[in-house]
């Protein structure tokens, strides 16, 4: 992956102040501790990676950030507001969008409808006007369609826009899911293993998209990824989790040199 080089050449890009910070988050299911006392922050416009072995609590972390899970302890601060508990709807309306590890698209709907659904919160007309499909509703549908078509162009999925997503190959579905998240014009994008199960070309494409989203729209991105090469190339800073605890945090270079991280990955006895 050659492109990310230019990314690093431009370190002063436009990384801003803290957009999201999670403070002392602990989460347990029954007696099983999924996360223990996790804290980190995410700055505006940066690409922040969360890495760690399987079962380290990475997805649980994302689920806490956008309110799918409610942590027993800790706080989440987003855009200056502090939450003891987030709920998914509030998270969405504040501009947090995400994709899922196992694709969570609406399988019976077309690509176009899936991405249109991502703009749900931006649409306003009432039920009655929707039933009539006149005036404001028609205008609104068209206006959002135009925006969605931009995303479809951007992700290069024009040819399948009317296809039900259930029939698309895996790699394309992953793209559509990214498109649906982008449709909300999020400030913070949470990507749960966007490149899992992809071949090398698909991975390169996806990397390209992630970087472009970050560059063009200035979207802040938190991503979980297993491919170390990808993580080291595209992320600004990395959080490392292991058994629900944070064992490392810093730039890719720092993390790579961290002894605890190396132990976790090479399987040294705890």
């Amino acid at each position: 992956m050659s492109e990310p080089a230019s990314h690093e050449h431009n370190p002063g890009r436009r990384i801003g102040g803290t957009l999201l910070s999670v403070d002392n988050i602990s989460l347990a299911f029954g007696g099983v501790k999924a996360l223990t006392d996790i804290s980190f922050d995410v700055r505006e416009h940066e690409i922040r990676a969360i890495i760690g072995p399987n079962g380290a609590g990475k997805s649980s972390m994302l689920n806490c950030i956008n309110g799918v899970y409610t942590p027993q302890q800790g706080r989440i601060r987003f855009d200056g507001q502090e939450f003891q508990r987030m709920d998914p709807h509030k998270a969405a309306s504040m501009g947090i969008a995400r994709t899922f590890q196992n694709i969570a698209l609406f399988k019976g709907m077309s690509v176009l409808d899936n991405i249109m659904t991502g703009r749900m919160l931006k649409m306003r007309t009432n039920l009655f006007l929707q039933a009539l499909y006149v005036g404001p509703n028609r205008r609104e549908e068209l206006e959002h369609r135009r925006h969605v078509e931009h995303i479809i162009d951007f992700l290069q999925i024009e040819s399948v826009r009317k296809t039900p997503v259930g029939r698309l190959p895996y790699g394309v579905q992953k793209r559509v899911e990214l498109g649906r998240a982008l449709a909300a014009e999020p400030r913070l994008l949470l990507l749960d293993e966007p490149m899992a199960g992809m071949n090398i070309e698909e991975k390169q494409d996806m990397c390209r998209f992630v970087l472009d989203v970050n560059d063009e729209f200035g979207t802040t991105i938190v991503l979980i990824e297993h491919d170390m090469g990808v993580v080291m190339d595209i992320s600004d800073r990395v959080v490392v989790l292991d058994y629900g605890k944070k064992i490392g945090d810093g730039t890719p270079g720092e993390v790579r040199a961290n002894k605890a991280v190396i132990d976790a990955y090479l399987g040294v006895a705890h």
Partner: protein, 358 residues
């Protein structure tokens, strides 16, 4: 070749978002409507109008309602007939008790009453899914007809709760002949079908399907699951309620609560499954199929029996009907879960190339 869309370019998103973006479809639909509005009244016999076409339209409306709930929002209901009953009895009572209320307003209020009841019985859907919900809707199915029989007020204290629908009069024009009633039902069903199509291609329709396909993801996008499901229950029950009102006023004339039984609910569910789950067109195809099938079966059975010189016992045709309905449901679920609507789509795709396969 007959059904060729080559050369028809949609140059604006507006053109692409039409209900029928392809010219042949528009022509075919216009022809169909012309037949329904002009041809049928000119040529159809009273038998066809009262025994086939009017019930077909009424059932199509009810299965449209159930399809919104089950096909689009993914919530299975076995209480359709109960919501129809509410619509019928509410419309009757509005006519009876509110002096000078226009009949169409009564129908709408009947639908609105059904919507309220639908929301009440839809409340469990917030916590349960699938067949749990189906069982919960059975409560509506058994409770509502009982209530309508027991509380005499609903039927103006008639014996066993029978109501006789008032005459349909709009602006001094009386809809008393089969043709007139047919045209009225056709107009109402066509308008409501258009509205349903508009709903499912708008924001709420996408929200319904999103909740149906993957509720966690829908929530993360910002869809309020609870509200979306309840709106589905309300809109669906509204359609069923209006269908129920038409069932009483335009089809049967007089009706008792027990006519809205579990059997009717199942029948409408079958229309949805066979016609096409999650398809507006499918609701009509399914209603036509299920309305015509018993008649066809009767003819076949009697013809067959006559030919072979057999003596049919009186219960045979209706038992045969159960077997065929049941068998068809299983067949469609296994072979073509999207029903007749999907078969129609496949046929159209074949027609694009026919008669030259390449």
């Amino acid at each position: 070749m007959l059904y060729r869309e080559a050369g028809q370019f949609r140059t604006s998103y507006e053109a692409d978002q039409q209900i029928f973006p392809i010219r042949q479809d528009r022509i075919a639909f216009a022809l169909l409507m012309a037949v329904a509005v002009v041809g049928v009244p000119l040529f159809a016999s009273d038998y066809w109008l009262t025994a086939i076409l009017i019930p077909f339209l009424v059932f199509a409306l009810a299965s449209l309602g159930l399809n919104i709930l089950t096909g689009y929002a993914g919530q299975l209901s076995l209480g359709t007939a109960a919501f129809m009953a509410v619509g019928a009895f509410a419309a009757y009572n509005f006519q009876l008790r509110v002096p000078g209320i226009p009949i169409l307003v009564s129908f709408l209020l009947g639908g609105a009453s059904a919507a309220l009841v639908g929301v009440a019985f839809g409340l469990p859907s917030l916590r349960i899914k699938g067949f749990y919900l189906a069982v919960a809707t059975l409560a509506a199915q058994f409770f509502v007809p009982w209530l309508l029989v027991k509380v005499g007020w609903f039927s103006n204290y008639s014996a066993s709760g029978v109501i006789t629908a008032q005459k349909i009069e709009i602006l001094g024009f009386v809809f008393d002949s089969p043709v007139r009633r047919y045209l009225l039902v056709l107009a109402i069903v066509a308008l409501l079908a258009l509205a349903a199509k508009n709903l499912v291609r708008s924001r709420i329709g996408r929200a319904w399907m999103a909740v149906r396909d993957m509720d966690v993801a829908a929530e993360v996008i910002g869809i309020r699951i609870m509200r979306t499901k309840l709106i589905a229950f309300a809109v669906s029950s509204f359609y069923c309620g209006v269908a129920g009102a038409l069932y009483a006023f335009a089809y049967l004339g007089s009706v008792e609560p027990d006519a809205f039984n579990l059997d009717l609910s199942f029948r409408i569910l079958f229309m949805v499954i066979i016609g096409g789950v999650g398809s507006i067109l499918g609701s009509f195809l399914g209603a036509a199929f299920i309305t015509l099938l018993p008649i066809l079966l009767e003819v076949l059975l009697h013809g067959g029996a006559g030919l072979l010189g057999l003596n049919l016992s009186p219960g045979t045709p209706s038992m045969m009907q159960l077997v065929v309905f049941g068998g068809l449901i299983i067949f469609f679920l296994i072979v073509e879960p999207h029903g007749l609507a999907r078969l129609w789509q496949i046929a159209k795709e074949k027609l694009r190339l026919w008669p030259f396969p390449y």
